[in-house]
Symmetry: C2
Subunit: 284 residues, 2 copies
């Protein structure tokens, strides 16, 4: 495993690398969800780059960038353990020691996908997806992967990144991988560690409600108004819910097609912890 | 001369081209200013790409995208005449037949440099520089030039593009070339053709006032408040002026350095025609 702490090291390494590269961008504090992405990258490429960078520009002024968990030693141990299962493959960890490695002095450019960024997470976290799209662009430009792997737990982020990479002609295949869940069904997240034991049980209401919602829709767009009325009731009576929606899967529009993919998205706030989840469905 | 009307043709051509490419992006309706850019590109590269594309996204809703002059035949004649002066060099004209060649269906990404885009031209034309930065990014990505040539008449645009190309790691040298002027001193512009003969004379007040302003500053930052008070008087008494400013040359900030480059920028509106001009100076 190579550990690179500066952009110069990354550029020099990339310059000499001729094999196809799979890329997993993360903010560290790795869990099995991240590991599943790295597994996929190593299955499809001789070398995978894992970036670990807590990106300041995707945090809002009221969000706690400085308190985001930074667990580099523990993350590297995860990677080492994973590599024993992939002999002959290589992992390069790019963990810039300072945000200035990614954003040099005077940096002033923004990459954004406004049409996907101002509702759901984007409405609650203004500027978040601009920060995401910009940093992912910069990392793509440095790492030059053939394929990049994202978890579909951050479904809207996945759509923003996929759209951005396509529109900007980056020739990178952006893959969204299935959500990894606990045995009980809780979507894995770095935030889960902040839940009390009781909250971990309460948290299951999130995925259960999404499944309930999917069942109520029953694969029929005509049921959408009734399902949305039902969701509104839940939101009105339980302030822990931030949103609970069904959207067309690609553009995340509210108009559902008669046939095609949809996604059910919800955010439940337990104490200070915002839990995101979604499940995908199909109208038939 | 090659004339390419689709992006597919451009991509195919670029794929087979191994020589270094100079690039001049324009909206057509070429004048000697544009030709000076193409001359520079051909001096420094065996092959130059000239793009002619009236970009819809840099026009505001109240601006007349549909009435922008489209003079392809006349532009091509200019290029043919120029090429006789550069034997052995090649010019490829990329003139997409439709905006969808540049912005495919579903395109939704924006490239922007907010810190340079919300004052001067950006304040009068909201969204303009977002449109410029995005289309220039896309053209850069297609043409893959080593050097791109811009006129410094659109000084703020030049700064936006230079910043964007650097921040996004495009490895393209963005050159800003000196303004080309008429014998009387009027900065060449596609808009000049809309001036009456009397207005062409009136228009000279623009460059003369900028020169006067430069002289009043006298290379000394300490004179800036007096110069700005003088400019405010002009703006207050003559509604044809939209702005008249002195700014630091690189970031276009209002704080002037003690030493270093500055730029004097003005916009004079004669009838329906907005005339932009600037001159560059130095604090010593």
């Amino acid at each position: 495993m190579k550990l690179l702490r500066t952009t110069t090291e990354l550029i020099n390494w990339r310059h000499g690398e001729t094999r196809s590269v799979g890329f997993v961008p993360t903010m560290g504090n790795l869990h099995e969800g991240h590991i599943s992405l790295l597994e996929a990258a190593l299955k499809e490429h001789p070398v995978a780059v894992l970036s670990i960078f807590v990106n300041p520009t995707q945090f809002g002024p009221t969000e706690d960038f400085t308190r985001y968990p930074r667990t580099l030693d523990q993350d590297l141990a995860h990677v080492v353990a994973l590599m024993t299962r992939h002999p002959g493959r290589e992992v390069v960890v790019y963990a810039p020691a300072d945000p200035a490695e990614v954003y040099p002095a005077g940096f002033a450019t923004v990459v954004a996908v406004p049409a996907l960024s101002h509702f759901l997470e984007g409405a609650i976290r203004p500027g978040h997806f601009e920060g995401v799209a910009t940093v992912v662009y910069l990392l793509f430009q440095l790492v030059k992967p053939r394929t990049a792997y994202f978890g579909r737990k951050d479904y809207q982020q996945y759509r923003v990144v996929k759209r951005m990479a396509r529109d900007l002609g980056l020739a990178i295949h952006v893959k969204g991988l299935a959500i990894v869940r606990s045995a009980e069904g809780l979507a894995l997240s770095s935030r889960n560690q902040y839940l009390s034991e009781a909250e971990r049980v309460d948290a299951l209401i999130l995925v259960r409600t999404l499944r309930d919602m999917q069942q109520r829709l029953g694969g029929t767009a005509a049921n959408a108004p009734a399902v949305r009325a039902w969701a509104s009731e839940i939101l009105a009576h339980d302030p822990r819910w931030q949103y609970l929606e069904v959207r067309e899967a690609r553009h995340l529009g509210e108009d559902l097609p008669r046939k095609g993919k949809v996604v059910f998205l919800g955010v439940l706030k337990l104490g200070a912890v915002r839990l995101l989840d979604n499940i995908e469905g199909e109208l038939i």
